[in-house]
């Protein structure tokens, strides 16, 4: 009887260790992508870092409940989207708690572009394009922005986006279409 209990305890400990190792791998693999999505959504480095940590903390707490119906990335992205949503909601409700936003302006955000083998003129043109895309992203609704960033920054499939956002694929397509129309207008209107 005692030997059985000891074996069970050892098995549980081993299972926990395996789960912890798995989770560490998930963190190492997906943390940059989650951070990138949150950074693009908020344009605030500190906030993106905080939300990323909260996301993995929440994921760690609920890791046991993750059944693997979707990929770990989709599951994590769903947590990140919800955290970001909660953050904006709380901020709207309690706006007096923070008087200033730390989001960088569009010019600064557009500066991040590797020069590669481009000429100075091409680089300038590319920065201008990036700035215009940022401007359109800024004007999008929360859902449109999320869908747009998941599709064109994280290059997720529509079905994955649908699972991560909890929307139907049709709705995702509609949001994406509106977002693209806005980007197109921004790019074409100021040419």
């Amino acid at each position: 009887m005692a030997a059985g209990t000891a074996l069970e305890t050892m098995t549980m400990a081993t299972a926990q260790e395996i789960a912890a190792q798995e989770f560490s791998t998930v963190v190492a693999t997906h943390r940059p992508q989650i951070f990138r999505f949150l950074l693009a959504s908020t344009r605030d480095v500190d906030l993106a870092e905080t939300l990323t940590q909260e996301c993995f903390l929440k994921a760690h707490r609920n890791w046991g409940g993750f059944r693997g119906d979707s990929s770990a990335m989709t599951w994590l992205m769903r947590i990140a989207i919800n955290l970001q949503k909660d953050h904006w909601r709380n901020r709207r409700m309690q706006f007096w708690r923070q008087t200033q936003t730390n989001a960088v302006d569009l010019d600064e955000a557009s500066e991040w572009l590797p020069s590669g083998e481009r000429s100075a003129e091409q680089l300038l043109l590319a920065r201008e394009q990036v700035k215009r895309v940022w401007q359109s992203v800024k004007g999008l609704s929360e859902r449109q922005r999320t869908v747009f960033l998941l599709r064109f920054v994280d290059e997720m499939e529509l079905s994955e986006i649908a699972r991560a956002t909890g929307l139907s694929e049709g709705t995702v397509k509609a949001h994406l279409s509106r977002a693209l129309a806005r980007v197109r207008t921004e790019l074409g209107g100021k040419r």
Binding site: Q100, A126, Q129, E155, R184
Partner: protein
């Protein structure tokens, strides 16, 4: 296949080859802009992800600024509110004084009017009484005058 087609939109309604080429060119520009945008976000994210942070200092600086901002804000609000209240009290006081002066003036006018009315009444009464009651000694006085002349 055009960029919009891949997103579930067809190129229906576009007239002729020129229109189609224009849409293709637009698609190309959009594709290029989105690729540049992705590159930019990736570069920014990678740079920030690998950067060391000094949260304590930032938080302290921010909290100091926040506290200073709040203090200044509170002083301004308190000053504004205090000034407003003082101004209001001054106005109320002035209005009360003016009201009291007006009331006193009105009382004075009423008192003067009453005094004038009483005086008039008394004057009327005097004149009425003097007309109705003859002097009791007047006939006798007349006789006496007559006797003396005789």
């Amino acid at each position: 296949m055009s960029f919009m087609k891949r997103l579930g939109k067809s190129a229906e309604g576009i007239d002729g080859k020129a229109g189609l080429e224009a849409v293709e060119a637009q698609d190309q520009a959009l594709k290029q802009a989105l690729a540049n945008f992705r590159c930019s976000v990736l570069a920014w994210s990678e740079a920030e992800f690998g950067r060391e942070r000094t949260p304590a200092k930032t938080v302290r600086q921010r909290s100091w600024r926040l506290a200073a901002g709040w203090a200044l804000g509170c002083v301004l609000v308190a000053g504004g509110a205090g000034g407003g209240v003082f101004e209001h009290q001054q106005k109320v006081q002035a209005a009360r004084t003016a009201e009291a002066a007006r009331a006193a003036e009105q009382q004075k006018v009423i008192a003067e009017q009453r005094a004038r009315e009483e005086e008039d009444l008394l004057a009327n009464v005097d004149s009425d009484v003097s007309r109705e009651v003859p002097s009791a000694m007047e006939p006798l006085a007349q006789l006496m005058t007559d006797d003396e002349t005789r």
